[in-house]
């Protein structure tokens, strides 16, 4: 606490930490929000997708020594394949059914994939080293800051802009948005809606995979990491408003700041601060900062 008041450099570092954490979480939460926005499914398995991303990174970059970038690509590709299998094999039977059944289906995936990870990667904590040239710190003039964390803070906004352009500025994005409005009308117009659905699920899952791969050097892959991240993502998308990309971006940033500064002001209680924030937001705006009210009767 005293450090906060006396040292501007310390504050500066904390601000960077907050952004870096927030942006890493944004990548993962964006996938969750995207899947919800189009498919109207809350994907509990998103955390386990993230965990698989981190483990794939370990295998590719650490075990097989194929390099960091290959690891990220492999994580994205691996999750894309898993997503196609899950969506075509299981999910497609449940669109339009009760939300409860969809939730439970994603939970079944959590249980099965969690065990699968234990069989493949064991239960030990695995460590992934920083990519070449990023293990050190960068001189920012007033202070040094870890290069890798800085890179995370930059990748987040790049992905945000990419997703924004994809959804708001391309024909495919327009079709996707139309699918959230009226799926039947869209398919009557000759658009292949199932392809849109599987693609969205694939992109969402791949984002979780990339997020996990990027987080691997900081959060060592270990069983149970899926449970923590899914709750963090829930808090972020609820704060931002489900299905809103802007909301997720802002929510992730706010979460990063509250979590980081919370841990500086009252060490160990940062999780609780995040929940308090959630309650305050819901009191003022029940649909989240950028969300729209659900239609009744669904």
């Amino acid at each position: 606490m005293d450090m906060l008041l006396s040292s501007p450099t310390f504050v500066f570092i904390q601000v960077l930490n907050s952004i870096s954490l927030g942006m890493n979480l944004f990548i993962i939460a964006a996938g969750l929000s995207l899947i919800f926005g189009v498919l109207r499914v809350i994907n509990f398995a998103h955390g386990v997708f993230y965990m698989f991303g981190a483990y794939i990174m370990y295998t590719v970059a650490q075990d097989l020594e194929l390099g960091f970038v290959t690891g990220v690509i492999a994580a994205a590709a691996g999750l894309a394949v898993i997503a196609i299998v899950v969506e075509r094999g299981l999910f497609q039977w449940l669109y339009g059914k009760e939300h409860l059944m969809q939730l439970l289906l994603t939970f079944a995936i959590v249980l099965i994939m969690g065990d699968l990870a234990k069989i493949i990667w064991g239960t030990d904590q695995l460590s992934v080293s920083y990519p070449d040239g990023m293990s050190g710190a960068l001189n920012l003039g007033i202070t040094f800051y870890p290069t890798y964390r800085l890179m995370l803070a930059v990748i987040g906004p790049v992905i945000f802009i990419g997703l924004f352009l994809l959804i708001e500025r391309t024909r495919w994005g327009r079709l996707t948005r139309a699918a959230t409005q009226d799926m039947e009308m869209l398919s009557a117009l000759g658009i292949n809606v199932p392809v849109i659905y599987v693609t969205i699920f694939l992109i969402g899952a791949a984002l979780a995979g990339v997020g996990g791969a990027l987080a691997a050097p900081i959060n060592s892959p270990t069983p149970g990491m899926d449970a923590t991240i899914i709750v963090e993502c829930f808090v972020i998308v609820i704060i931002g408003g489900l299905g809103s990309l802007w909301g997720t971006f802002v929510g992730a940033l706010i979460y990063g700041f509250v979590f980081n500064f919370g841990s500086v002001i009252v060490p160990n209680w940062q999780d609780v601060f995040a929940f308090l924030l959630l309650m305050v937001v819901l009191l003022i705006r029940p649909w989240g900062l950028f969300g729209k009210p659900e239609r009744e009767g669904h």
């Binding site: 809350i42 299981l90 079944a108 995936i109 449970a227 489900l242 929940f275 819901l282 009744e296 669904h298």
Partner: protein
């Protein structure tokens, strides 16, 4: 009215309770332990069904109230040396209050947010239990619970559990079949229409949540004494998921469905753990079967089989 049980159900209940009352005569510690644990889970699952089956909302954080009941009872009994007659009701009231608090936020939203939010609040309870080491014991758990002498022992504790769970289930039955319970069903079936005929739908949903939370608190308070300890895992979301699966496995549109589901899942887990360490996978597969084939649970399956046998089609 409508509080009276159909005669068949009443007789089945009497038979089950009597059979359970005879369990300690077999003089098997294993059997008594299993029966005690099943009873606790039965009450836990029945309580959750007030939210799911009757009010039609999904709670993914029901373990929170179980844990609050457990921690409160354990801490009051041990740290503050309260007598059971005070600590137990206080623990139940605290669980109910926590449920009211969460419901106040959750019922502002429709079902999708509702489920996520119940989970988030449950994880808040878990985080507090984990971090508030001086009171809850943190990740070591709260151990050495001061169990009152008159129920200190396997058989006495089993009878204590049997009495409390039987009375609680009877009360839950009455609540679910009262005007309140019937109104909840109306809200579940069509919230807009229920609102139009003058039902305060939000208050009803909050009411369901409080009832469910309180009875989960009872189950938790018993379990804390049974284990002589409370651990953070009892508030973890996987615990919430487990009780949800119990409820659905049995069948959420039937009052006793969740009780059947709780007993079945508990026994399956015991059984599976002797053969494999991959219980989560088994559970995942059970879940897939429920979702894809048996959305109305075992009770729904039984009904279908009976109709088929009766030559319906």
């Amino acid at each position: 009215m409508g509080w009276n049980m159909p005669r068949g159900v009443l007789i089945s209940c009497i038979v089950v309770v009597t059979a359970l009352a005879l369990v300690p005569l077999a003089d098997s510690r294993y059997l008594i332990d299993i029966s005690t644990e099943i009873l606790v889970y039965v009450l836990f699952a029945l309580s959750l069904n007030v939210i799911i089956g009757y009010s039609g909302n999904v709670s993914f954080g029901h373990a929170a109230y179980f844990a609050i009941g457990g921690y409160a009872n354990a801490i009051l009994l041990t740290t503050y040396e309260w007598p059971l007659i005070l600590s137990f009701p206080t623990a139940v009231v605290l669980s109910g209050l926590a449920a009211a608090f969460v419901a106040y936020f959750c019922t502002r939203l429709t079902d999708i947010y509702f489920a996520m939010l119940t989970l988030a609040f449950a994880m808040l309870v878990w985080a507090i239990a984990f971090k508030w080491r001086s009171v809850t014991g943190g990740d070591d758990g709260f151990v050495g619970v001061n169990v009152p002498e008159f129920i200190d022992g396997r058989a006495p504790f089993f009878y204590f559990t049997l009495v409390i769970v039987t009375i609680s289930s009877a009360v839950l039955w009455m609540i679910c079949h009262s005007a309140f319970g019937q109104t909840l069903v109306a809200v579940r079936e069509n919230i807009t229409r229920a609102g139009f005929i003058g039902v305060n739908t939000r208050l009803m949903r909050i009411g369901a949540f409080v009832v469910a939370g309180s009875f989960a608190g009872i189950a938790g308070a018993i379990f804390a004494m049974y284990n002589r300890g409370v651990y953070t895992e009892s508030a973890f979301w996987t615990e919430s998921a487990q009780v949800l699966i119990m409820t659905l496995l049995g069948g959420m549109y039937s009052f006793f469905g969740p009780a059947i589901g709780a007993a079945t899942l508990y026994l399956l887990e015991r059984f599976a753990n002797e053969y494999t360490q991959y219980w989560p996978t088994v559970l995942g597969v059970i879940l897939l079967v429920i979702v894809l084939v048996l959305p109305e649970g075992l009770v729904g399956l039984a009904k279908r089989v009976r109709e088929r046998l009766a030559g319906g089609n």
